[in-house]
Amino acid sequence: MSHFTQPLEYVGRPAQRVDALDKVMGRAKYIADYRVPGMLHARCLRSTLPHARIARLDTTPALRVPGVRAVITSDDFVDHGLYGFPVKDKYMLAYQKVRYVGEAIATVAADTPQAALAGAQAILCELEPLPALFDATRALDPDAPQVGPDRKNGNREHPNLKSDHMLVCKGNAEAELADCPIVLDRRYFTDWQEHAYIEPEGVLAIPTPEGGVVVYAPNQSPFINQNNLAMVLGLPINLVRVIQPTVGGSFGGKDDIIYESSAQAAKLALVTGRPVRMVFSREESLVASYKRDAMHMHIRLGADRDGTLRACWFRGILDSGAYASETPFTAWRASIHAMGAYRYNACDVDVYCVYTNNGYAGAFRGFGNPEVCFAVEQTVDELADMLGMDPIDLRLKNCLRLGDETAHGQKLDESMGLVECINTVRRLSDWDRKRAEYSRQTSTEKRRGIGVAIMYHGMSLGAEGADYAGATISVLPDYSVDLTSGLTDYGTGSRTVFTLIAAEELGVRPDRIRIQRPDTNTAIESGPTVASRTTVLGGNAMRAAARNLRQTLDLAAADLLRCDPQQLIRVGESYVGPDEEAVAWEKIVDHAREMGLILSAHGKWEAPKIVWDHHHGRGTPYMAYVYGAQVAEVEVDLRTGNTQVLHLWAVHDIGKVIFPQGAYGQLYGGITQGLGYALTEQITYRDGYIQETNFESYLIPTSVDVPEITAQFVESSYSYGPYGAKNIAEPSLVPTAPAIANAIAHATGRRVRELPMNLERVLLGHDLQPPASRDAAIRGVWMETRSMPQTPAPAAPRIYA
């Protein structure tokens, strides 16, 4: 029986998040909510200098502090805890040098948080300052202080060059530009961004009787954590188990920093033989954790007088701080998207990242695309202004369409909904009327503007690495259905997506299905949970697993109903054979067991192979793309520079929508992060010291900063996606900041080429420079923990009836 022709019963239909009930009741357990008997509290000693040699590190005074049970340093790990992918350049605790303010140097485990803090402060640590590097544009100067690790084996590259030059090359861009009647030459800068998950980092490690460790870690990718732990602890991998508890937000941010915390807590658990929990304060989180890179961009765009784009030349430098984390991949994704979703005769893109002593950068939703989209979408807008063309008309004239070839040489032969996104957002936002009306304003107090940005975003990892996922499914004795996935849900809704897919394929109600917490003991390794890949990769794997189980149940049903499996039909959950009597699903399960059939299955899915030539910047970087267009309407106060976003419209082509409520939630949430990125979220490293150490200075959007959002999906089916699905998590925030920037330019007549577009940049066109301050960051490193119970177990309340 063919599933393709039947209407979908659960996929794409209204559904509720599987874990919402526990969350609204306050029952969901996050890492800070875990308490186990005998649990110790861990605390890091962190660097107070941006670049220094560790001249002396004596932990013995800490061990004399009452309540302190153990202290570890890099010496306690195999190979000093060296880890990292794709570049192995970071240590679980600093070894020989520190390279940013907030870098962990030693970790103390103690009976109470206060004792752990006192222990950390008692450590004798002498840091000998080294010349530091804060300007990414000078990082490759011959006399720049060396931040990156020494080069090996005769490699003569500058040690501060962190990644390859990521290239996209089509034709001869220089020659094409020289021939263009109009060339725009512009520079842009995007600032650091903090993920600002409302749950700060934490981890709980429990030693096992056989000498291993179980780690509860709110990381995105438990298998990477498990691998790192086995490596730096010197344990066989089967003695390391990583379980993901409920995660309070991540957005790319809970990988490396959680791996480090996991290694520290796990080592302390092994040393002390007791469970060890470490939970960050907000200040510690902001100082220690990685950020979205800051990016310096230079773009030249060439066009004909009729608005036909001809050439794009782009140079980008990512200031990605003291360690690589995933930023070489970020640079690559930035390079692929740098020219925007347009056709060109010629393209020349070169993006790379460098070491500095400004904190460190890693993965963050969008992964390079929000940065480059801010540059290219403003430049395209400016071109429209110069030519007196409507910005949407100019985009429609040049944007990628079905059958086009991208600048990389990839033919777009299916699932291409960009034009429909643009046309729909134009209609929904009443673009033409507002654009004309706001162009005639004369007020010197407040003016409105409306701006647009479009984008495309490559699906999943692309040329970053092997792209596969696995899932398992089984029927339990109580007839419930149990799922596992190697890809995780840190708030995204993927547990619900998997549940709906399993229900659809198996033909059972979603409320019969339970999905386990991600656990390296039970799930199948599926690569990292990143790059908006979970719905397509994990969804296809879950679909395959459910189909395998369905095949087994169909055989049992055919046997019981004495017919061919092709003759079976389903009415609700029941099976019906030729005699037209409905047999309950439970009866089929019982019969399958009597037949000796095993009611569990697994499924694997591998993405179609892609080819990318790094040396020549040509190929097929991603299996396919998602597309979107957003319009922002703003009101700018010309006296203060304050920008209020009045409304946002977003139309995105994400293929088939599997879990509508979740997809809309992702879109609203991504747009909101994009709004913060655009206007208020600013991380300032002054001489390496972060200035924003809590939410009173790092300003993420509140409910009154975010306007009503009108969102719609274009569902252009993708043949490799489950039911035609693509993805939404990252693309949602990519075009928001440039749409707002273009609206500000429409309102004020002035371009703001730096993010965030704060009051002074909008009003004055430049920053106000407060004096440098080390204090905020140091306070963050050493924030006193508030009083906590002196006894680990809380006193039982007396309740008087």
Partner: protein, 156 residues
């Protein structure tokens, strides 16, 4: 010192140091971990509880200040059968929940708002949530859920 209060409708007495916050009293001494810590400086609202009818950030209230007061936490919000009440059910139905860490505070803010303004406009709902940060949802579905609850309660 001994701190006595009415907590989720029941009298409670607990011995705790005088210099801790109400948040720590709830989480570490009364084992009520539904109330979350997001910033500990009164900026994010993850620790919001209702104290004597007012929404407060429990990280900003010294535990002794709660002595003699009536405190409602997320554990005290539920329907008659112990399941979700109408506001909680609407949070589920309108997709107001993603990672969920801010949600206990959001539910408390929603209840406090509806206590004082049973028929709020969407803008008034947004004002009522302005002290509660959410990084996942963009607030829209949270506003939807509270709006629907207000309408439902108006109908009785």
């Amino acid at each position: 010192m001994w701190i006595e209060m009415t907590l989720n409708g029941k009298p409670v007495a607990v011995e705790a140091p005088p210099d801790i916050s109400l948040l720590d009293l709830l989480r570490d001494y009364l084992n009520l971990t539904g109330t979350k810590e997001g910033c500990a400086v009164g900026e994010c609202g993850a620790c919001a509880v209702i104290m004597d009818g007012r929404l407060v950030n429990s990280c900003m209230v010294l535990a002794p200040q709660a002595h003699g007061s009536e405190v409602i936490t997320i554990e005290g919000v539920h329907g008659p059968d112990g399941g979700p009440n109408d506001l909680q059910q609407n949070f589920i139905e309108y997709g107001a929940v993603q990672c969920g860490i801010c949600i206990p505070g959001m539910i408390m803010a929603g209840e406090a708002l509806l206590m004082h303004n049973p028929n709020p406009s969407r803008q008034e709902i947004r004002m009522g949530l302005a002290g509660n940060l959410c990084r996942c949802t963009g607030y829209q579905q949270i506003v939807d859920a509270i709006e629907a609850t207000a309408k439902g309660r108006q109908k009785g």
